[in-house]
């Protein structure tokens, strides 16, 4: 079944009506979700928003667009189509039929992976809840809300798996997903980076480019899972995530484009005086979001990740394209490390234990794509300045380089030197205050804030000046 059943209280393509017990359990969770959305979701009051709603998981025409009151958004449960012949693609169970039920020996590990993934989804909604008040245009406001409702739907996706396959423990964990809150002292979200408020739109674009991209790679590894319902869930989530990536990529594009335009028009590097974001400040925000996102991949080596791979729970990015035995028992990988002399170096470890590094490298290569785009915009404007990704040792709190300080070029610094110079590379209070000063709402149709260029195209073929959001 690929088409969503919207006649049900919970839209789904998993034949929920055939399992009354599960249906009742999810319907009893639904009011809790809506209460969470009301109390922790977007704060800007709206009448309706031009939103995409999933209606089909097939290749073509999978979404419907229309104005929807956000509280009435049809959050549903959608899994990609089942491949009856799918086999496990890696690890010790390689070649066996994909599991349709949770294998008992992997129950705890699978539940942990699903809970962690599920915890990030509502977290970002909570982090971004106040951003609507300073949206630079109705187009951007609409994109923010689209990201928010789809992160909410991704929470539904994980909650469905917990309810359907993990019994009472799964239901308890589903409740906890609403109990933990971003930034809460008593019950914070699991990942550190998901506990900081997204304070401004430059941070939002950087977050959706760098941190959501980390989520994309984690989803990509779970899409390979031998547990087929998890794989199919993540496959469809990745389709929705593509829009979130687009919001980040084009958001930074438009910030860079506007800054370049103003710099050229006025023949000056002093962009701040002209009300746009200076390139060095953009670079500092990039440095921050990229480096904290690198930390989300964990330490260079991990016993747990090796075990997940061997068990067939979590694969590699694009596992089927890898040209090896997909078991990695005898393979090795060079991972970052410090030499005994305290210099940056590499050391050889088993490929299995180095899987965090493997995934982080795939992510880094992808991030380079954004930098190339932004530098092309600068080059096309005739400017010599360029942005770049900082060295992997820069501003790291996790892994081999957590105990040292390094410049964006990878030069090791003393702690005192780092403290003295870090304001050159990371946003300072002055930078943040300046960015906040630009964050004035532009909620008029067809208008846009002066610090960002309009998009090249609107949503679903609509023009930029379309009435994407009706405010209350």
């Amino acid at each position: 079944m690929t088409t969503a059943d919207y006649s049900e209280k919970i839209p789904n393509n998993v034949d929920l009506h055939e399992d009354r017990r599960l249906q009742r359990a999810l319907e009893s969770w639904q009011p809790n979700f809506l209460n969470w959305w009301e109390s922790m979701g977007p704060t800007l009051p709206t009448e309706d928003v031009y939103l995409r709603t999933a209606v089909n998981v097939g290749r073509e025409g999978w979404a419907h667009f229309g104005h929807v009151a956000m509280r009435d958004y049809r959050w549903g449960i959608f899994l990609a189509e089942r491949d009856q012949k799918r086999t496990i693609g890696f690890g010790q169970h390689k070649g066996e039929p994909a599991w349709q039920q949770v294998p008992g020996e992997y129950r705890a590990d699978l539940q942990r992976l699903i809970v962690i993934q599920g915890d990030t989804e509502p977290a970002s909604v909570e982090q971004q809840r106040n951003l609507g008040a300073t949206a630079p245009s109705l187009y951007d406001l609409r994109n923010l809300f689209q990201v928010n409702v789809e992160e909410g739907r991704h929470l539904w996706a994980m909650v469905y798996l917990l309810h359907a396959y993990f019994g009472r423990q799964g239901r308890e964990e589903a409740e906890e997903l609403l109990h933990r809150n971003s930034g809460s002292a008593e019950a914070p979200r699991i990942l550190g980076a998901f506990n900081e408020e997204t304070p401004d739109w430059l941070s939002f674009y950087m977050f959706t480019y760098f941190t959501d991209r980390d989520g994309k790679y984690q989803l990509g590894t779970l899409k390979e899972s031998g547990f087929d319902p998890l794989s199919r869930t993540c496959e469809f989530m990745l389709k929705e995530e593509a829009h979130h990536m687009m919001v980040g990529t084009t958001g930074v594009d438009r910030v860079v484009e506007r800054t370049a335009q103003v710099m050229v028009e006025n023949d000056t590097d002093d962009a701040a005086a002209l009300g746009v974001i200076p390139l060095p400040v953009i670079q500092k925000y990039l440095n921050f979001h990229y480096s904290v996102s690198l930390d989300l991949f964990g330490s260079e080596t991990s016993t747990n990740v090796a075990n997940y791979f061997t068990a067939g729970l979590k694969g590699r990015w694009l596992e089927e394209r890898r040209r090896d035995d997909h078991k990695l028992g005898d393979d090795s990988i060079m991972v970052d490390s410090l030499t005994p002399e305290g210099e940056l170096g590499q050391t050889e470890v088993s490929a299995l234990t180095g899987l965090n590094t493997d995934l982080r490298r795939e992510y880094i290569a992808d991030c380079e794509g954004g930098v190339k785009r932004w530098n092309r915009i600068l080059a096309d404007a005739g400017l010599p300045q360029r942005v770049r990704l900082p060295h992997v040792a820069f501003n790291r709190k996790v892994g081999a380089f957590s105990g040292i300080e390094a410049t964006p070029e990878g030069e090791i610094l003393s702690t005192a030197e780092w403290e003295r110079r870090k304001g050159q590379w990371l946003p300072t209070d002055t930078d943040k205050t300046f960015i906040r000063s630009l964050m004035r709402p532009v909620h008029e149709r067809g208008k846009i804030a002066a610090w960002i260029a309009p998009p090249r195209q609107g949503i679903n073929g609509k023009p930029f000046d379309y009435d994407y959001v009706h405010l209350s």
């Binding site: 705890a108 539940q111 942990r112 992976l113 809970v115 962690i116 993934q117 915890d119 423990q169 308890e172 964990e173 019950a187 914070p188 979200r189 699991i190 990942l191 550190g192 980076a193 506990n195 984690q218 904290v292 930390d295 989300l296 991949f297 964990g298 330490s299 080596t301 991990s302 016993t303 747990n304 990740v305 090796a306 490390s337 410090l338 030499t339 005994p340 305290g342 050391t347 050889e348 470890v349 088993s350 234990t353 965090n356 709190k397 996790v398 892994g399 081999a400 957590s402 105990g403």
Partner: protein, 143 residues
């Protein structure tokens, strides 16, 4: 006795680890002995006393999200508060990494899982539905 906490830049199954990890310690932690000199995954710290002798190890396995912690105390040094010292240091390391939760899994091979579970409960860990024991990382002001 002052205890010293030192991060291992490239953890290996060296002579000190071979000395601390007897059969019982391996069973307690669920680790398998490795060939001498082989790399050891995860982040490791060694604990030394004033004489420079290794009296224990702590290690932390962080991946997408939270972190599993584990530790071992040299058999002849048990009962001297070294376990609590290592736990405090691991929690500080987790805090420095922006991690909000740490957990430990008592392996099925542990010779006395009830004692280990009780010890972790005494140190604020709560048994979770996942079968592990977890605790929210206390910030320095809370600790």
């Amino acid at each position: 006795m002052t205890l010293h906490w030192t991060k291992e830049a490239t953890p290996r199954w060296d002579a000190d680890k071979q000395a601390v990890f007897g059969e019982k310690q391996l069973a307690s932690t669920g680790l398998a002995a490795k060939p001498p000199g082989a790399p050891v995954p995860d982040e490791w710290w060694r604990v030394t006393d004033d004489a420079g002798s290794v009296v224990g190890y702590g290690w932390l396995d962080s991946e997408w999200g939270d972190a599993q912690i584990a530790f071992v105390v040299a058999p002849e040094k048990r009962g001297a508060g070294i376990g609590a010292f290592i736990l405090g240091q691991l929690e500080r390391e987790a805090n420095d990494r922006g991690l909000n939760y740490i957990y430990n899994v008592v392996p099925k091979t542990h010779p006395d899982p009830a004692w280990m579970t009780h010890w972790l409960h005494l140190h604020g860990f709560v048994s979770s539905p996942l079968g592990d024991l977890r605790r929210q990382v206390r910030r320095p002001a809370d600790a």
